[in-house]
Symmetry: C3
């Protein structure tokens, strides 16, 4: 499609991983596959996710950060939160000594994944519009810009061919929230919900490593009671409760397959048991050993968890 | 699966693009991929769309027409609006000097895409049932007929091997609505809604090319007011409003990435702002320059837009 | 990823077919594709289905049983009904003289598909954890265990390398319900609903082969009337009603493309016409020839269909 010979000064790749908010309701994702098949027929295209809520950059950025360690060498094309007709800077970030290049909007979408693999080797702003596909109307960046740039990078083009060098400190940072300690414990957030209603949090497992097998969790809204969360063991013989023994109405705390501290409930989705969703704030508190041993659940007021 | 040697009198293809209304709720689409992998393992299968409403031939035909220009050379397998147990003629249409062959039901599904690429080179009705897969029950055309025919065409079979020549004038025409001018302006229709609520219309951009940067739009139902739509610019320096400056409650008109005149709204989905959906009728009227300059919005009755 | 050389004592495969309940809401399915691309880049991965209700082993097992006859030679990776943190045995079952190997949890998911192709050649429990991927948290079997095992099997590893031999009689049987005859007819169940509302049942077509072209069907709940179901013909000239002639309010019985006896309704979804869904119980009764000839519909009470 684009004219000109390919300068093979870079490294060639044979996989493109795609993450968008285009959904599956129309032909949009299919067209991206078609373009790749047309431009670089031997490159495989992997669909990471397309059904994230429209414009939910934060959720999509966490999906990419969770996936990045499993991706094969190659190009990541990510496009979430880019509105119709909007003029937004798009960037490419090379990571892991050239094992991968992430391309997408400069809106924080790529940042958590880049951080997860140790930071950027090199960044460019995608300003070589000679590579882009012509549009019959408004420019659609993922189709007109990111896919042909990804194809060119697969063919071995150097980053300098697709854009101009960029100061990484001008790149929009990620938007993943951090937990924070206060006098009463640690305030964390539900950062994701699984299909079965488990609630991933941003609580650092190291912060609760020596808290014992029970701790308290309170949803920070008007009428939530403090609850006791039981640490769930991940391996036979490890401290904690086997998940099969978590009874109805009980709350468990498990390190999920991504290493995130995750709330589950006995016999029903944790989202239902705790009435929480992505973005809900939670306070985790250490239980004193006596009450933990008795298994007592003390009713408390908002922002006044047990003294 | 099918017996017999392949007569390589035609052109060989290595991509099949799939468009169906089978959804993702069961294994149906997976089975189509499995059949292709079994019959022609080196052929790539691209999913264009499968989640169109069941039987919505019109919407699916527009998806195919929008996508066709981006598809690599190959076979398109399309199946929408074919009921269980229904006996319907299926056809193959060769396009673009043999760059592609579209196969699907003779119900108008293929027609807009064929028109988009300059019409049919040759058409056949798929009546060579020796190529079809046996069914344990009712014939399921996309599985039993279209997939093995697509595989045979990929292998280089001539159209004459899969069916009998067909008069293209007997083929069911497409069902894409046209806009029409009347004394008060142009009556158009919402022909598609994006995931973010932008409304594609069938208004020809040439018809409003000299209407200036504001025009009126009225939804043709009982209680809709006339609204002023602001032309949105697609490129820096072009006439119109940058989309970022479209305020709350304002309506914008943008040429979308497919070249379709599309309604957007400031700070919310246009579907919500205008209370419209696919199929809603709209009237567009030229504003006189004086009122346009003042930015006046005149309230009007249904079918009596500004005189 | 896993160390060690591959012992090519088995058969090599180049396709992995995937069936899970992970949905499309996040990056989970994409990560499975990424792992396959990383470990065995020349292997194709086919998505059979991922949107089955979470934990619905029975529905998923029927999807796999319907698909199995269409799958190319290769590995099937199936994971439905495996809860977070749960310790469950996973197994591999070789079928069809080594044409395929199914791997998944020992919860009945694989059993109907295995039965469909004539039973197991050999079974192992997947206990060679040297092949598994390390997890940053809880083990996620489909990612950490099934995908690397599938990759190793594609490379030609023998079943004995991935696990220990297993008595097939200790494997959890399938959970597909059977119909049963009683004095009043045959009690069957809706075992699946198509996207257009057709209701697949577990009624054996042989049981009604000589019942003529009309029979009665009653939904076994409190207020359902007996209805006459018209046998729908699948081929021109066969006995029964062409589906196009099934009028509003009428019920038809058709052998669906999988060979299942399936209820359809005239001009609307059978699910709406009969107010049924997956799991609904139905009684089918033979009509006497006189009433069938008159086309009479007799109102009856629950569990007292026509004598």
């Amino acid at each position: 499609v684009a004219a000109g010979s390919v300068r093979r000064v870079g490294r060639a790749y044979n996989t493109i991983s795609l993450l968008t908010d285009l959904g599956h309701g129309d032909e949009s994702v299919g067209v991206l596959h078609a373009i790749a098949r047309d431009l670089v027929p031997d490159v495989a295209v992997i669909d990471l996710a397309h059904d994230t809520p429209v414009g939910d950059v934060r959720t999509a950025s966490m999906m990419l950060a969770r996936a990045i360690g499993y991706l094969p060498e190659g190009i990541v094309v990510a496009s979430v939160g880019v509105g119709l007709g909007e003029h937004r800077r798009h960037i490419a970030i090379q990571i892991a000594d050239g094992a991968g290049i992430l391309i997408g909007p400069d809106n924080g979408l790529l940042a958590p994944a880049v951080a997860m693999v140790g930071g950027a080797d090199r960044s460019v702003v995608l300003d070589n519009d000679e590579l882009w596909l012509p549009s019959p109307g408004a420019v659609w960046p993922v189709r007109d810009l990111l896919m042909p740039v990804a194809a060119r990078l697969c063919e071995g083009a150097d980053l300098g061919e697709v854009g101009s060098d960029l100061d990484p400190y001008t790149v929009q940072p990620g938007v993943v929230p951090l937990s924070r300690a206060d006098d009463d414990g640690i305030v964390a957030e539900v950062i994701g919900v699984s299909r079965s209603g488990a609630c991933q949090t941003n609580l650092d497992p190291d912060e609760i490593a020596d808290w014992g097998n029970e701790m308290s969790v309170t949803v920070l809204n008007d009428d939530a009671d403090e609850r006791v969360a039981h640490r769930i063991t991940n391996a036979p013989g490890a401290p904690g409760l086997p998940i099969e023994r978590l009874g109805p109405g009980s709350i468990g705390l498990i390190l999920d397959p991504h290493g995130l501290v995750t709330l589950v409930a006995g016999h029903r989705p944790a989202t239902d048991e705790l009435r929480v969703t992505t973005g809900s704030a939670l306070r985790f508190c250490r239980l004193d050993e006596a009450s933990a041993a008795r298994g007592v659940t003390t009713k408390v007021q908002l922002r006044s968890p047990k003294p």
